[in-house]
Subunit: 414 residues, 2 copies
């Protein structure tokens, strides 16, 4: 296997450490801040929300990622989003970065920030500063520290989300070295990425030129984080960052060669793994929904069609109810936008013990209701739709719409 | 008052009659078919779903509305949508129209059709024919007959929806005659019109040239039926039809004069009334949500922004929970698409006993939580958002997302 799964998350790559703490920003009795740190400065790339109301930490990070393009630490808090907070919100970012820079002996401009939680309120600077100092003195490169950090950034998530991979790349001396990639992310409401998704932080020890790091990230995000939807709401805080510190000792990747291709594939796998975990842990979700569109006329149309299905409230409610009302899947394809010939479409439900074809040659087919119920009782529900048009394909992931989603979001602030 | 509300619905205009029956297509113990009939042929206009999977009756109606542009009867059934039913679905339309034509002594090509219900199954022709013949022999111009018809086309609707208006227009001899407009519509899921909405049938006795009838309808639909959303799903069956039989005796409206303007205003009022009723009776809804966007740069941007808010799952769940989490409204404006300056936006919640400003000058404001709860406990929740950009404005209507929406749609077929 060229790409190997390994244990761990953000601390899997050489030279990265993590910490977390309970700063008491909003939640009681749990950690709510996380810090990532690299022993040396990193090439940095990122993608951010397309929402017009960009949270203060998003604006802060964009300046770094589009400016100096290097960073050495990330500070994240859960509970308050620092969004729609005006000038005061921005100065809180500056103060937090300065506090972290001081504690870590790096410039404030090397500190990336992230926030998730309620939109509107200002963050309490005293609690943030306390948390930053505590975390700076308890950084650890252990797998446990990475896992603890991934737990600290959760809001309504029910499980923490982390993953790590390894690939082998040539070193300067012709020998082979192992390059590591790790990451953590959090959902799980306001998930309908349009540039990237909620919060996801990736670390790697690869040596790579920054433009290639950004290129790889921007490309893989299109088919991973941008292909999941929980509720159709694109957050004010969506942030995906990657830090590459070069400590693996590989021959620096400076062009789109085989090493770049392998790294890009590994990055795709890592992002897909984290993205699918987010979709499956959507607020209140009991099922993951996977919609694969094949033989579409263009890649972008395949993406739009697949996303439309996993975003449909009616499809999501039907999966919750284990109801094989496949007309709703067709309906969601039909209003997605792209033109297609309904008579050429073929829709199949893919079960663990076989498939069920629902629609072919312009007609809804009779099907075995018991078999359908058996498939719809699985945790991961997979549909394939062959558009009968071209060679493009795309996959989107979502989750079902449940009583708990309504419950969680009917009373989120309290 | 130039435009007067009058009692009744589809039978309010001269020469129109209605009937309904229990054909037993899907439901037991209730009516499930409706018929509208005009004593004389009508100028006909319509708008239809933009879904690529257009139901068979939609294709049938489009041929009439874009072809001969005249019709004399409408036959509607609830329970089965006749969508994704291929050639067989289309021949069922032909057979139903032929049966109605025979019973009513008019050509089959003068019979418009509508269906709503489950996508996929074929309609039972024997039950349809039985229903058509029964209705043809029991047509009545009474208000009760119109109301009964509006009840027969309901699916998950909790209340029937009808309205009627009157205006005065000049007759040929210079005297004044009363022109009537009436209508009925049904929701209440799969409501996110992109050409028009689920099923709505309007009747009027005005004498008007067909191109002007279509123009008025196409224009008013943009700010009425196209501005409501229940769940973001654009149905395969969306149909809005208007039949004008000319029996009011007004001087025929042949150009965009004062008579046309008054008729257009009345048509707007009628469509808005029916559209708002549909939004407020969204599946499982407990609140109507009205989002008014003012001072946007363009009319289309105002529409897109307003619709984005009433379509947001997070906003809808927050209204259900009576939670003044206004950041979600800002968030939905921010991802809607149109560019704007967040610092110029002002967001207000409009209560019966006063307003609450939530956001101004780039900041979420502190507010009186008790007053917010009082306003959010009203049945109709109104927000106004001033974009601080131009002169355009638009209003959209939606409803809250409740446990009952999930319940209804988790088990719709059974």
């Amino acid at each position: 296997m060229k790409i190997r799964n390994i244990p761990g998350g953000v601390t899997a790559a050489a030279g990265f450490s993590a910490a977390c703490c309970a700063a008491g920003i909003k939640y009681a009795g749990r950690t709510d801040m996380a810090m990532l740190f690299s022993d040396v400065p990193c090439q940095t790339a990122g993608t951010f929300t397309s929402n017009r109301f960009k949270a203060a930490p998003v604006l802060w990070d964009m300046e770094i990622v589009y400016g100096a393009k290097t960073a050495q630490a990330v500070v994240v808090n859960a509970g308050i989003a620092n969004a729609c907070t005006g000038e005061e919100g921005l100065s809180l970012c500056r103060a937090t970065a300065e506090c972290a820079g001081e504690a870590l002996h790096i410039p404030a401009s090397s500190v990336l920030l992230g926030s998730t939680g309620v939109i509107g309120p200002q963050l309490p600077l005293d609690k943030l500063s306390f948390g930053v100092r505590q975390m700076a003195s308890s950084l650890s490169g252990s797998a446990e520290a990475g896992t603890a950090a991934s737990r600290a950034i959760m809001t309504t998530d029910t499980v923490n989300k982390e993953a790590a991979l390894a690939i082998d790349l040539p070193a300067e001396d012709g020998s082979t070295v192992t390059v590591h990639l790790g990451g953590m992310s959090k959902g799980s409401g306001m998930i309908h990425p349009n540039m990237c998704t909620m919060l996801a932080y990736l670390t790697t020890d690869i040596a790579i030129a920054q433009p290639l790091l950004q290129k790889a990230l921007s490309e893989v995000v299109q088919d991973t984080f941008n292909m999941i939807s929980v509720d159709g709401d694109t957050s004010t805080n969506d942030t995906l960052l990657i830090l590459a510190n070069g400590l693996a000792g590989n021959r620096p990747v400076l062009q789109e060669d085989d090493s770049y291709a392998l790294f890009r594939d590994a990055l795709f796998t890592l992002c897909r793994t984290l993205a699918v975990k987010m979709a499956g842990d959507g607020e209140g979700a009991t099922h993951l929904i996977e919609m694969r569109v094949t033989h579409a006329d263009t890649k972008e149309n395949a993406r739009v069609l697949a996303r439309s299905v996993v975003s449909s409230s009616l499809v999501k409610a039907m999966i919750f109810g284990k109801d094989a009302n496949c007309g709703r899947v067709l309906c969601a394809l039909g209003y997605a936008g792209p033109a297609f010939d309904p008579a050429k479409v073929e829709l199949t439900l893919n079960g663990a013990d076989g498939d069920l074809c629902f629609y072919r040659n312009g007609n809804v087919l009779a099907f075995d209701e018991e078999k359908a119920l058996r498939i719809l009782s699985e945790t991961e529900i997979r549909f394939t739709c062959d558009m009968g048009a071209g060679d493009a394909e795309a996959t989107a992931w979502g989750c079902d719409l449940t009583y708990d989603y309504v419950k969680i979001n009917g009373d989120y602030r309290s």
